[in-house]
C-alpha cells in the first residue's frame, strides 16, 4: 500500500472538514492591464502577444456573428465562448503545436490560435460538403487532424479518459508530446472525469486536464454541482499536480499551462488546472439565462472581460493602439461574414456519405441500404430535392 500511515497517527477522532483544503488562485494581470505587485509576466514577445490577442478577438467576432446568424435562421445552432477567451486561447498558446487538444465544445479559441481558418469554421457550421466532418454533426463540432485537434463529441466528459489513453500512446511513442483535455466544471461531475484523472495519475501520462470553471452548466450553478472548493482539490486527491488560475487572466493561464506542460512532458505526470471564469453568454443559442441568473451577476463579470484586460496590457506595453484595435475588430467581423457567405453557397455532403466511415469499408448491408435509399429518392425527387440532384453527380470534394 502506498499509504504509509506510520508517523501520522491521531488519537482523537478528528474529522477533516470539506473546506480544509483551500486552493489559492494564481493571478498576474489586473483588469487595468497592470501587473499585481508581486507578479511577474511570463516571457511573451510582441508577435506572440499579438497572435494571442488577435485570436481572442477573432474568437469574439466568430461568436458574435455565429449567434447573429443563428438568430437570422442561417445556422441551426451556435455556442459562444464569450468571457472565456483568455482560457481557451491562452492554454493553446502555451503548447507545442503538435500536442493533442481534446475539448468539450466551447474552446474555439484554441482552434483559432492553432490556425483553423474561417473557411474551415464555416464549412463545419454550415454542414456543407467541405466540412471535414461531412455534415454529420451539429454546428461547433469541429475537428482537425492536421492541427492535432480532436473532433468534438457532444457526450460530456468522454474525451477525458480518451485523453489519458492518447497521452499514454504519446508516452509510448516517446516524442515529447502531451495531450490537453478541456472540460467544464459541470462535466467534471461525470464518472468519466474520475476514471480519467485517476488513471492518468496511476499510469503516469503526459496529460493536462484543464477545467473551465465558468460557474454554470446550462442553468445549474456551480453551487448545485459540487460542495467542495471547486474542482482543483480533486487533483490533490488523485495525487496529481494541481493549480488554480484566474481564467480571465491571459498571462496567468499562459504561464500555468507552460509549466504544466513542462511537468507533463518532462516527468510524465499529469496536471490539473482549474481556470476560474464565467460563461458570459447563454449556454447555447437554444438557451435563455434570464430564467436562472441575474443581470447584476452578469454585469459584474462583464467588467472582468478578458479581452479588455489583455488589450489594456498591450496598450501599456506600447504594443497596440486603440486604432489598431478598432480596425482589427472590424476587419475580423467582415472576414467572418465573408466566410459565412462563401460557405453557405457550398453544396451539402453527397448522399453517398451517408454510409461511408461507419466502418473503414462499407459492408454489404450498408451498400444495400444506400442503394435502396437512392432508388427511393429517384421515385420521390421532389421530397428529397437536394440529394435527388446528387444521384448522378460524382461524389463531393469534401475531404480535409
Amino acid at each position: 500500500m502506498n499509504t504509509d500511515t506510520k508517523d501520522r497517527t491521531i488519537y482523537k477522532p478528528q474529522f477533516i472538514r470539506g473546506d480544509a483544503l483551500k486552493i489559492p488562485t494564481y493571478r498576474v494581470l489586473k483588469q487595468d492591464g497592470s501587473l499585481y505587485k508581486n507578479a511577474q509576466a511570463p516571457e511573451v514577445d510582441q508577435p506572440l502577444a499579438l497572435r494571442i490577442y488577435s485570436s481572442m478577438v477573432r474568437t469574439r467576432m466568430l461568436d458574435e456573428r455565429g449567434l447573429a446568424s443563428q438568430r437570422q435562421g442561417r445556422l441551426s445552432f451556435y455556442m459562444q465562448s464569450t468571457g472565456e477567451e483568455a482560457t481557451t486561447v491562452g492554454f493553446a498558446a502555451a503548447l507545442d503545436d503538435q500536442d493533442m487538444i481534446m475539448t468539450q465544445y466551447r474552446e474555439q479559441g484554441a482552434l483559432v490560435y492553432r490556425g483553423f481558418t474561417l473557411d474551415e469554421f464555416m464549412n463545419q457550421l454550415f454542414s456543407n460538403a467541405l466540412d471535414y466532418g461531412k455534415g454529420r454533426q451539429m454546428p461547433i463540432h469541429y475537428g482537425s487532424e492536421k492541427l492535432h485537434f480532436m473532433t468534438i463529441s457532444s457526450t460530456l466528459a468522454t474525451q477525458l479518459p480518451q485523453a489519458t489513453g492518447y497521452a499514454y500512446g504519446q508516452k509510448l511513442a516517446g516524442e515529447g508530446h502531451c495531450t490537453v483535455a478541456v472540460f467544464g466544471e459541470g462535466a467534471a461531475s461525470e464518472g468519466d472525469f474520475h476514471a480519467a484523472l485517476n488513471m492518468a495519475a496511476v499510469l503516469k501520462v503526459p496529460a493536462i486536464f484543464l477545467c473551465r470553471n465558468n460557474g454554470y452548466a446550462i442553468s445549474t450553478p456551480a453551487s448545485e454541482q459540487f460542495a467542495g472548493d471547486g474542482i482543483a482539490p480533486r487533483g490533490i486527491g488523485y495525487g496529481m499536480h494541481t493549480i488554480r488560475v484566474d481564467g480571465n487572466d491571459i498571462l496567468a493561464v499562459l504561464e500555468a499551462t507552460r509549466q504544466a506542460r513542462k511537468i507533463a512532458v518532462e516527468q510524465n505526470e499529469p496536471v490539473l488546472i482549474e481556470a476560474m471564469s464565467y460563461r458570459l453568454a447563454a449556454h447555447s443559442s437554444s438557451d435563455d439565462p434570464s430564467g436562472y441568473r441575474s443581470n447584476a451577476e452578469e454585469a459584474k463579470w462583464r467588467d472582468l472581460d478578458p479581452l479588455l484586460r489583455m488589450k489594456n496590457w498591450l496598450l501599456q506595453q506600447g504594443w497596440w493602439s486603440e486604432e489598431e484595435d478598432k480596425a482589427l475588430f472590424e476587419a475580423d467581423r467582415q472576414a467572418v461574414m465573408a466566410a459565412m457567405k462563401k460557405a453557405e453557397k457550398v453544396g451539402r455532403p453527397h448522399i453517398d456519405e451517408m454510409i461511408t466511415d461507419v466502418y473503414d469499408i462499407p459492408p454489404a448491408h450498408l451498400q444495400q441500404q444506400l442503394q435502396d435509399l437512392k432508388a427511393h429518392i429517384r421515385l420521390y425527387p421532389e421530397v428529397y430535392p437536394k440529394s435527388a440532384l446528387q444521384l448522378d453527380a460524382p461524389e463531393g470534394v469534401n475531404r480535409g
Partner: protein, 325 residues
C-alpha cells in the same frame, strides 16, 4: 378537457402525480428552477419545493443510481435524462441494477417506484447525439418496462400509469413532436394501461405498427395508401416491453400482412423481435414477408437527416411492395 401540447401533457402528469402523492420526487439535470431544458418540469419546484424537485449534478450514472436507491427506500423516483442519447452512462445502473433489483433479492427489495423520463428521436437537426432512439437496448432487458406515447393524451395517461406502476419504467418522450403534437387532454387524473397496444385505425389489407413520433408517418402513409385503395390497420404499440403480442397477432391474422416502422437503425431494432414473434404465431396467415421501415445502420446524421428518416414515402412504398408481393 384542455388543449395541450405533448410537453404540457407531460408537465401536467408530473404535477398531478406530485400533488397526489407526496413521495413523488422529480430530479435531473436542470430540472429545478429552470424546469428542464425542454421545460417539462416547469413550475414543479415552485409548487412542491426544492426537496421534491431539484437539479442534480451532471452525471447520468449518478442520477439513475440515486434514483434506484431512492426508489428502493420507498419513494417514487421520477428521474429525467436530458436526452436519450445521454442515457448510456447510466446503462449499468439500469440494466444490471434497476432491472434485476427485485429478482436478485427475492422481492425483499425493489425499485418499482422508478420512472426514467427521457426525450428521444430525431427530426430536429440534432445530429448523432440529440436524435437517438435507444428503446431496443432496453427492450432486451427483462425487468424493465419501456413505454412511448404518440400524443398528449397518451403521454399524460401513460406517464401517470408509469409513475404508479410497481416496476421500473423507461418513458421515452418523442421530442420532435413535443410542441407540434397538440390535442384535447382531460384535466383530471387518469391512467392508460401499460402493456396494451392500441388499434388506432381499423383496416383490412395490411397492419402497420409503430410507436411514438413514428405514428405520425404511419398515419400519413396510410392516407397515401388509402388513395390507392389499400386499407391499412394502424396499431400504436405504446409499450415496447412487455409488448402486446395478442393485439398485434390478432390484427395480422386478419390482414395477412405486417409492416413495422421505427426510427432506430434497422439491425437489432425492436421490429426484429416483433416480426420474429409474429411470423411464428401467424405463419400460415402471412401473405407476404413482414416488412420493416427503419433508420439506416449508421449513426444519426445531420445534413442527410431527411434522407435518413423512415418517412411516410418510404412506408408507403413498403406498403405497396407488401401488398403486391
Amino acid at each position: 378537457m384542455a388543449k395541450m401540447n405533448l410537453l404540457q401533457a407531460v408537465n401536467n402528469a408530473l404535477d398531478i402525480a406530485m400533488a397526489a402523492n407526496e413521495r413523488v420526487v422529480c430530479f435531473g439535470e436542470d430540472v429545478g428552477v429552470f424546469g428542464g431544458v425542454f421545460r417539462a418540469t416547469s413550475h414543479l419546484q415552485e409548487k412542491y419545493g426544492r426537496a421534491r424537485c431539484f437539479n442534480t449534478p451532471l452525471v447520468e450514472q449518478g442520477i439513475i443510481g440515486f434514483a434506484n436507491g431512492l426508489a428502493s427506500q420507498g419513494s417514487v423516483a421520477v428521474a429525467e435524462i436530458q436526452f436519450a442519447d445521454y442515457i448510456f452512462p447510466a446503462f449499468d445502473q439500469i440494466v444490471n441494477e434497476a432491472a434485476k433489483f427485485r429478482y436478485r433479492s427475492g422481492n425483499l427489495f425493489n425499485v418499482g417506484g422508478l420512472t426514467i423520463r427521457t426525450p428521444y428521436g430525431g427530426g430536429i437537426a440534432g445530429g448523432h447525439y440529440h436524435s437517438q432512439s435507444p428503446e431496443a437496448y432496453f427492450a432486451h432487458t427483462p425487468g424493465l418496462k419501456v413505454v412511448v406515447p404518440r400524443n398528449p393524451h397518451q403521454a399524460k395517461g401513460l406517464l401517470l400509469a408509469s409513475i404508479r406502476d410497481a416496476n421500473p419504467v423507461i418513458f421515452f418522450e418523442p421530442k420532435r413532436i413535443y410542441r407540434a403534437s397538440v390535442g384535447e387532454v382531460p384535466e383530471e387524473d387518469y391512467e392508460l394501461p401499460l402493456g396494451k397496444a392500441e388499434v388506432v385505425r381499423e383496416g383490412s389489407d395490411i397492419t402497420l405498427l409503430a410507436w411514438g413520433a413514428q405514428m405520425e408517418y404511419l398515419e400519413l402513409a396510410a392516407e397515401l395508401a388509402d388513395k390507392e385503395g389499400i386499407s391499412c390497420e394502424l396499431i400504436d404499440l405504446r409499450t415496447i416491453l412487455p409488448w402486446d403480442v395478442e393485439t398485434v397477432a390478432a390484427s395480422v391474422k386478419k390482414t395477412g400482412r405486417l409492416l413495422i416502422s421505427h426510427e432506430a437503425p434497422i439491425t437489432g431494432g425492436f421490429a426484429g423481435e416483433i416480426a420474429t414473434t409474429i411470423q411464428e404465431q401467424c405463419f400460415l396467415h402471412l401473405e407476404s414477408p413482414i416488412a420493416r421501415v427503419a433508420g439506416l445502420d449508421v449513426p444519426y446524421p445531420l445534413a442527410l437527416e431527411k434522407e435518413y428518416i423512415p418517412d411516410q414515402w418510404k412506408i408507403f412504398e413498403a406498403i405497396k411492395s407488401s401488398v403486391n408481393f
